[in-house]
Every structure is written in C-alpha cells, then in structure tokens.
Symmetry: C2
C-alpha cells in the first residue's frame, strides 16, 4: 500500500482532519532507543518524542509491563502494594508540601482533577492561563487552549511572559517581569470586578507550547505569590517539563516556583497511558471526599510496574546528568550556527528541550512558520524527526528521548548544518 | 503488613477517601481467568470485574501487548497500519451508519468527545440524561452524575425508565413508556423555553448504573425518535454494555435503538486504557476539523494489538454464545431462589450482567442497601466477589469476566444459597 492509499484508508476510518506529521507522512514499523524505522527499513533519529523518555521499546519497561500484566492487572478498590511503593517514590522526588497523589491515565485527566481540586478548595471558578497554552482536550481543560484575554467568565488569559518578543521593548528582565505581573494582577482584579471568585493559575513551568520562551527571571515566583495572596492556588503542569526533561526532576525547580498542585503525564509510563495529579494532602482529601473520584484503569499494578521501571531507568542510567551535558552541548552548537544564520532569531531551552526560533531575518524577527515547517520536512528527508511549535508555529522543537547522547547530537548537527547549506541560510 | 497498616499507608499517600471495596478489603496478588488470588493464596471467584472481559491476565492479550510494546509504541501523527485494521474490524461490528472512529484512553475521554461532537453538530448545549447515571468524571461528563431534573442550564435529568419501581403504578409497559417519554418531551420543551438549544440525549442502553432496570419496551426507540425530531443526537454509552456483555455485541442492539454516536471503553483492551467514540462520518469530520482533537496515548500500535487480541478471543472462544447460555442459566437459578426469598424483590439482567434487587420484603419492595452490602461482604468471605449498585445501592451486581462458565455459575449459586441460609433469608 502506498502512503497515499494509506492516508485515504485512514481518512475513511478516522475521518478527515486526524492530524499527521510531514508533507509526506512516514509509515513506521519499529522503534529502538532514539531510533524509529519505517516499513522500508529507513531509520530516523527521533528528536521529537517526549513520551518514550527512556527510549523507544525500552526493554526494562516492556518486561515490567508484560510481567505484571500476566500476574495481576486490576483497579484500585482492592489493595495492592506496588502502587503504594510507586506513589511513595514519586512523591519523594517532589517538594515536601506535595505529599498526596491521585493517578489517572492522561494529562487531560490529571489537569481536570487539578482544576476541579482548586475549585473545590477555593470555592472559586476563575482561572488564569497564558494565551498560547495547551493543557489537554476535555471541555474544561480545552477551554484554556488559546483562551482569549477576557470574554469568558471563568478563564482569563495573560500574554505569555517572554524575553524574545516582549510585550514592551527596551526593558530589563526585572522590568519585564513587572509588566507581565501587571497582567496577572489585572486578570485577578477583573475576576473580582465580575464577581467571579478566583481559583488559581495553571502554568507549564517552561511554557512549552508557548514556544519555550526565556521567561523574565522572578516572574514565576512572584506570579505564584500574587495568586496566593489573592486566595488562588498554583497548578504547575509538568506533563512536558517533568521527569528530567530540563535536567531537573521537575520544571518548577528550574522555574523557581513552588506548586500547590502539580500534574504529570506523557513520559511517566514511557508509552503506557499513565498520569497523575499530586498536591498537598489537605487539597487531595477535600477533593477525594467531595468528588468520590475513581478512575477505572489507573492506580493499577501495571501502572505501578511501568512507572517504577521508568524511574529505575532514569536513575540507573544517570539520565539527569546526561540530559544536562548533552543538552548544553547541543544548545551551544546551535547557538554557534545561529550566529551566522540570519533566519535563526533565537536558540533557547533547557536540557533535552530546545527551541530554534525561525524568522525572516534577525533584524525584523518576523516569525516564519513556512520556513520552520520546510526545515522539519527537510530534516525528515535526511532521517531526523523534529516538529514546530510556539504561538506562530515557527519554533523548531527539539525534544528527543532522554537516552539521546552526544553521538546522536552530532548526527543531528550534521543534518542541521547540511539543511542550512541546502537552503542557503 | 496487616490490612489495617496497608490502609493507613494508602490513606497517607492517596489521601483519605480513595474508594475501597468491602468492610475488610482484600489484598490481591494474582489473577487468572475468572479467579483472583490474595497474598495469602486465598482464591476468589470474580463476579464483578467487567474490564478483564476475556479473563484476568489473558495470555493472548498480554503477549500481544508485550510483543507490540517491544516493537513500536507511538502516537498517531505517523502512519501505522495495525490501528487501521483494528478500526475497520471494530466498525464492522457496528450498525452501518457508525462508520468513523476516534480512539481515546478512557470512557470519560470518549464521552467528552461524544458530547463535544454533539454540541458542534447541533450548535446546541442542552443534554438529557437520567437522574441516576454515571458516564465519567471530567467536569462536563461528571455533571451528568446524579444531575437534578432541572436547575442546570445545560443538563436536564429525567427519572430513569423502569418497570420495578415505576413512576406511576398500575400501568402497562406501553403506558409506562408513554409516561417516561413525557419526561423526555418536557425536558426538551424546557430547554426551548429557557432558550438553550438542544444537543441530544446520552444513555447507557441497559441503564447499568441506574441498577439495570427492566426498561419499558419501546421506550428507547421512541425516545431516540423524539430526540431526533427535536434536532438532537442520540449518544449511546457502551462502556459497560458493549463487547458481548449482554449476549449481543452492543447494548443498543438489545435495547432496539440506533445511535448517532456510540462510546466504548472498559473491556476494550482487557485492562489496557483503551476507549473510543464512533459515529457517523459527517459528525466525526466536523469534530476533527473544528477541534483538532489529538490524544497522545491513543490510536497507538499497542492500542491496536490489545484491542485486536480481545476481539480474537471473543470470537475464537465463542464467548457471545457462552454469555447467553450461562447467563440464562444463572438468571433462571436466581429467579428460583428469589421465589422463596422475601428479601429479593427482583432478579433481572441480560447475558453476564445480572442484578438482584435486595429489599426489606417483597410486599413493600423497600430498598435495603445495608442488607445488600452485607450480602456482598458475606459472599466475599465465601470467596465470591460481587458489589452493589443502583440508585439505592441495593442491587447486587453480578458481572463476571465473560469467560465465566456453568461450573463457575454453580460455585456462585452454592455460595449464594449458603449465604441466604446463613442470614435466614
């Protein structure tokens, strides 16, 4: 079957509009470590996928899942110990105040729990988010996606804080933080003026979907204080930032902000649908009591086995250190390339999550979505998988499995440099 | 660790209020077919769990998951064929108009998609559900749980249709259907009066959470027509009723109603978080286009492998026939016991889903929740697992894995008769 026939078959079954990557999508057959192989045996260096954090088809995780699924796979209204061991180990990795946990299957579900929990605890309805975020696809969580600044009763978006295309030019980082904090203050006072009780703020600590901007220093910590002073709670969404992605266990450690509620997802089970919402025990207990929350598939022994194997792999392979070292190398090399490439407006990021801001030229810094998409397609043709993100879809997103090492970085850098040469950049 | 110590540890990590079964919960270690084993090696006949539909730790499903997870486990923005084969096979089992599908991870997610889809297609917001239903735990879907008759703008609940405690006494089935249909009509006209555009109705075709009542014949089909005549769509939630549970592939076949949108979940992956929303292609396409729905973990090759293995097992083991035969035997025997047991008000159900309505006495038919809970605990002590459900929690719910055979039924019947003798019923 040709790619075209496959797409036609897919449209017929899934409905047209189911998202696909690349001008000519790839038909995959096999994955291993940082590599994906298509049905013709062609291999691709995966620099996009953040779910298989300890590598595609990681043997330890697969064996843990298979062994447990062959032994016991059951919901949590019976007792079993493995999920308690896992909960304990995971909570130990968090700040001290984060001492209770509810497991779920997807990031959407975890963020639903978090928002419902904040509403119950505060008695409020109003949430602040950024204007270019994504936290999931349920009706409530999905209402955060590209939310308007005002216009909804319960959601007020603020312009996402950034240094590259700041809301005002010519300001220092500290001054910029002030300007963005004014937006938070104004959203809070608008809620008050509208008679909507404030529930809190929900933020990805590295603003991944916003395009991974450099955030004005002090913004996060000061925003959290402002929210708490107004009676709200701070929800930190670690679905993308968590599990050593940034070279820290959690994005909130990098961002210098303490969450009241923290959500986790994607990499947690290396591909098994596993997510969680952790929080202070008083918040969890109130939520449990009032909602009687139960999730059929979650908190199972299989959830525990997969989650535990992922933590074991991260620890035993010393991935946090590798992420920092390889990430710094990659960032440094990309910054070098950027110096003589006028279309690279900015290179930024942390650990194994980097963004290359593709622009018409450095002087105008005008976003060039078409150019960024062209780079992705060209890199794919050279056997390297990346994608585009950010509010203008012009940020080339580099986010490989964490087992990505320096030799892989060099393969990518060669392909990237060739691509720059091919387009005369 | 004692059970008490384990519960204390669980409360400390999960927060008090995380639901547990039984006065003395059981600590499980292993599952096999219809059997669960605790850490002391004690075995329990599982007559409750509807997820491991082809048996706990089914070897074929476990091997399919393990093999695929070791080969490729990736999201659906790349092409792979297994998920298309699975989609095709699953859609072939449905009515002809149900020809497109969106996979998700949980029933909650599938029902979120269904409700959002109905809203987009109709331009409406208003949904009808029953007053004792459960369709999931997100903010929108969770608002259907024990929804009030009126009082919310967007959700109107109707008294769930039933023959055992009908809304009016002394009526024939057809007359009762009329009375309940008046409730549907009144909900629809209330939406109109309130200026809320009507989106549709969402129903479990066997009203499982309502207590599996005998539904007045013709109600379902006529309610569906009434909803469509008013511009609404019919969402049928097969999360509990589907996959041969009733001796039919789908509950809507038993109920004699055609869905516009149908959701599936629990048994789909025999324990892997796998769910779906299937519908007419025009509805799916509109939804895909307007929502850009994407689910990180769903539509993966591992989803396909698990789902396909479940269908293979149901087919190869001829489970649909077994469900009907063993179910009829079990129902007949329970009805015999009921004749000389004054506390059994009603015995009903279909296939491998039966309910025993526990009451103070037949004459009053007063619900006896405490008695039903006591029976569950006593059966557990005899090595048989059931639970309670229904609006009064007085319906003993019998819902074993479908691989349950006549010899298992006899083990249960012996334990049940002993329990009746023990309590002098």
């Amino acid at each position: 079957m040709t790619i075209e026939e496959l797409i036609a078959r897919r449209d017929k079954l899934f409905g047209r509009g189911a998202p696909l990557f690349y001008k000519e999508p790839i038909h995959l057959e096999r994955g291993e470590g940082v590599w994906l192989f298509d049905v013709d045996g062609r291999r691709y260096l995966d620099m996009y996928n953040n779910i298989p954090v300890v590598g595609h088809c990681n043997q330890r995780v697969v064996e843990a899942i298979a062994k447990q699924a062959a032994t016991l796979n059951i919901h949590s209204r019976y007792l079993h110990t493995a999920i308690l061991d896992y909960a304990e180990r995971l909570l130990d990795l968090h700040s001290e105040q984060i001492d209770n946990i509810i497991f779920a299957c997807t990031g959407t579900e975890a963020n639903e729990i978090a928002m419902q929990m904040a509403r119950l605890a505060t008695g409020g309805q109003g949430f602040i988010c950024t204007d270019a975020t994504y936290h999931g696809n349920s009706t409530l969580v999905g209402s955060l996606t590209r939310a308007p600044r005002r216009g909804r009763q319960d959601i007020h978006a603020i312009p996402f804080p950034q240094m590259y295309r700041p809301i005002k030019d010519g300001l220092s980082g500290e001054q910029l933080a002030d300007v963005y904090l004014d937006e938070v203050a104004s959203a809070i006072s608008d809620f008050a003026a509208e008679g909507v009780r404030f529930a809190g703020i929900i933020l990805c600590p590295i603003l991944a979907n916003e395009g991974l901007p450099n955030i004005p220093p002090t913004f996060m910590a000061r925003a959290a204080k402002m929210v708490r002073d107004a009676g709200g709670l701070v929800i930190i969404d670690e679905v993308q930032a968590g599990f050593c992605r940034t070279g820290n266990w959690w994005g909130y450690q990098l961002a210098g902000v303490e969450p009241d509620i923290v959500t986790m997802g994607k990499p947690m089970g290396n591909g098994l649908p596993l997510a969680a919402c952790a929080a202070r025990s008083d918040l969890i207990e109130k939520y449990r009591t009032e909602s009687q929350y139960f999730n059929t598939f979650s908190s199972s022994p299989v959830h525990a086995a997969a989650g535990m194997a992922v933590l074991d792999e991260i620890d035993d392979r010393n991935l946090m250190v590798q992420v920092t070292q390889v990430g710094e190398y990659l960032l440094g090399e990309l910054q070098k390339i950027s110096q003589h490439t006028d279309q690279i407006g900015d290179v930024r990021g942390f650990g194994m999550f980097l963004g290359v801001e593709w622009v018409k030229d450095k002087a105008s810094s005008e976003p060039d979505m078409g150019g960024a998409i062209d780079i992705s397609n060209r890199l794919k043709d050279k056997g390297v998988l990346v994608s585009n993100d950010g509010v203008f879809l012009n940020v080339i997103k580099i986010r490989p499995p964490l087992v990505f090492d320096r030799s892989h970085a060099d393969i990518f850098l060669t392909a990237f440099k060739e691509t720059m040469a091919d387009i005369g950049a």
